[in-house]
Symmetry: C2
Subunit: 461 residues, 2 copies
């Protein structure tokens, strides 16, 4: 066998050349890793990375929209995987290594955390109590099915998953592993789903109210379960107490005093007709403090962001906040998260028939527990077939939310790289499934009435 190192050809030499140019201040070793790393290289690499990241996310997102009628978020999820070791790193390891050197990982990580924290904060500002307004038997049934089935299936498959080495961190309790798997399966891409329903004018339809209620309920339960897992996992009892007491105190504080304390900000925006930089600065300070507190007690920054978001003033305030914060978060920060997640996605870890079997089992369980269970629950309580299918497809789509939870699992050492890769696949596939089915059920109708064309642009969730 001829390897690159014994018989370098022009192609390899060219790649090495490119890699060297991309690391202007450090000669590359044969492993493609820079030998010298000056402080100013951080900004050089940062600018390069961001250019590559945004180009990839936008191009793949655009292709997904045009060719497969998928929302932008699907393309960006895939773009992250493409930039990682599963594709870019597999075929052009040297160039990939030069663009994403390990020294830069902390910067990318920080940007990614900032991005998802801010994203969950914005999700929180869009959270409304009337999402739970649908009180009929169907809504109750779908909500419960969407949480009971995932945890039932998690109880069923987790003991088996624990026997496969590398999926979970050694020493994790079966209880925590099961809860984590249940939360992963039960999660829905609630924000994406809310936007699709809103943009299609389905907010008052049976499908709309049902899915919003059930999605909000299931997600709330899943995140609470995750919080419990994070609070009790790993470190000693002192840490768990800090997490539980700290987390609950913070949540209670925001719930009882947050809205009242923040109300003046809303009035300032209403009076002025726009959000001044001073108000925006105060909001950002609150956000950073909330993220810090929930991160520091050992839960996670996203909870701080989300909980704070729910207490923010509504109306003009949120409208203005969205205008000022969302563009940057969606264009610059979230792609950093997708990439960071993709850099950790090692599809090569699913490299045997037995591992593939595990991956497929997880996928099947996830689809059965959300699509299947929610569809059946809707049918059983009297919804027609098309509505039930639409509900199932939307509830089954997990999008960015799933990436967030599994990244937390990986970062906190709950799951290993192989399970992470399998869950990334599950997240992408269940999200990809949603659009064609939903199109089939509702899209055509909407297009016939001239209401909409395909899937709305800029849907990131």
């Amino acid at each position: 066998m001829i390897t690159a190192s014994t018989a370098p050809n022009i192609w390899d030499a060219t790649l090495h050349e490119i890699a060297t140019v991309l690391s202007p201040h450090g000669p590359l070793g044969p492993d493609g890793v820079t030998k010298l790393y000056a402080p100013s290289d951080f900004s050089i690499h940062f600018f390069l990375q961001l250019a590559v990241i945004i180009v990839t996310c936008r191009v793949v997102g655009w292709l997904g929209q045009k060719l497969l009628h998928q929302p932008q978020v699907v393309g960006e999820m895939i773009a992250g995987v493409i930039l990682g070791p599963s594709l870019f790193g597999l075929f052009l390891p040297e160039v990939q290594g030069a663009i994403f050197p390990k020294e830069m990982k902390n910067v990318l990580y920080t940007g990614a955390q900032f991005g998802v924290g801010l994203y969950m904060f914005m999700v929180g500002t869009g959270f409304r109590a009337d999402h739970f307004k649908s009180k009929g038997p169907s809504a109750m049934a779908v909500s419960l099915a969407g949480i009971a089935a995932p945890f039932a299936l998690a109880i069923l498959i987790t003991p088996w998953l624990l026997t496969v080495p590398g999926l979970f961190t050694p020493g994790i309790s079966r209880f925590n592993a099961t809860l984590f798997m249940g939360a992963c399966i039960a999660l829905t891409a609630f924000p994406m789903l809310a936007r699709i329903i809103h943009e299609r004018g389905l907010s008052n339809s049976s499908l709309g109210t049902l899915t919003l209620t059930a999605g909000a309920f299931d997600d709330a339960v899943s995140w609470c379960v995750l919080a419990v897992v994070l609070a009790t996992f790993g470190a000693g009892p002192g840490v768990a107490v800090l997490a539980i007491v700290g987390g609950i105190s913070f949540a209670l504080f925001v719930i009882f005093f947050g809205a009242k304390l923040l109300a003046p900000l809303g009035r300032m925006v209403e009076e002025k007709g726009e959000m001044s930089y001073t108000v925006l600065a105060i909001v950002m300070i609150c956000f950073f403090l909330a993220a810090f507190v929930m991160d520091a007690v050992g839960i996670h920054a996203i909870f701080g962001g989300f909980i704070l978001g729910t207490a923010m003033p509504r109306g003009k305030f949120v409208e203005e906040l969205k205008k000022k914060v969302e563009p940057f978060a969606v264009i610059v920060l979230l792609p950093m998260f997708f990439t960071y997640s993709g850099l950790n996605t090692r599809m090569d870890m699913v490299n045997s028939w037995s591992m593939l079997l595990v991956a497929l089992a997880i996928l099947a369980a996830s689809v059965a527990a959300k699509f299947g269970a929610c569809y059946l629950a809707a049918r059983a309580t009297g919804e027609d077939n098309r509505t039930a299918l639409g509900i199932g497809a939307l509830m089954n789509s997990r999008g960015l939310m799933e990436l967030i939870i599994i990244n937390i699992g990986l970062q906190k050492g709950i799951i290993g790289l192989p399970l992470f890769a399998m869950l990334v696949m599950m997240a992408i596939i269940t999200t990809v499934m949603a659009s064609p089915i939903f199109e089939m059920v509702y899209g055509k109708k909407a297009r016939e009435s001239g209401e909409l064309d395909a899937v709305p642009d800029n849907t990131t969730a």
Copy 2:
């Protein structure tokens, strides 16, 4: 003498306690530096830092506005110094060390570079050829005086500064040292000055056209001189060639093809009435590429940003871009720059009478070369005393621009920490001087006519 380590008192113990809480995952050593540094600490610290940074910048900025009628930027410049070793680090070293651990410096650095790059990009988009419209003898005289006097004084004082150890990097040529000092003295806070003139409705007054023309001209010359210094300083001739050829090629490419290539983006915004995320993403990709290219060839990212900015479509496009990019840049990124700069500002380096003398000499030379020379040039060509004073004060104010140039000088190893600290003082003092003088000359008049109250809010430059 009783030191904290031999006889810890309650105050010290409390501070240690605070510092420990702020580094939740690492027990602190007696030096206040965390012993363990887990990857997830990066986001925890990042959130904490940003909260502290934005609070400090906003509070000091607000105090500066209310008590001293200074623009926000002055407060933020001072806030950065306060957070650094000159004040916070001097009085509460342990707490400061816990909030700003050295491990986080690269993240802060990256955010800071991103911030100033984006800022200069926005300055570029506001750059208009008609800033050079004033062709009268006064404009010519003030422009030339504002560039000739600084370089003349630089030629005069640099040989002396080179004899003081530590001010410049050993081995720097007298030529480069002189050019750098000249550029530092000649620089004006052009963007701030343009905004003040625009907001006060002085754009068509003698003071307005004169200052805009002279400011734009002097800044253009200063940045070109800096580019030459960066291109020729340090590394071997190969690096200089790369910098010069790369820099000039990029600039020519943008000047000749940039506007034409980017024009479709402007039309898309005009047609849609707003900037879509796709257009914004393309703009950001161009920005990151431009910043990367100019950083990688060895000049600096800010040149990439600025040059690209000048080629961007105007009108609605810039308006929309500003709305989408500026809030984040001003509230989150620029404060990171002020802080990064402040962390490098060691006022304790100016710790002897001789060093203080050097600092005062630099300050005096700077004021004489800009305030003095521009005032005299304006008087000599027939402007009245008040107008000439106003011109002098505005031309003398250096603001954020000065911090950018001296941070580049420090980062590229042109100047040392003591000179950096002296130039920070010079930048702050000359900027602080501008408002009262300008107020005296123009502010009262404007207030009497009910046109404005004090200095406009949110002026960051």
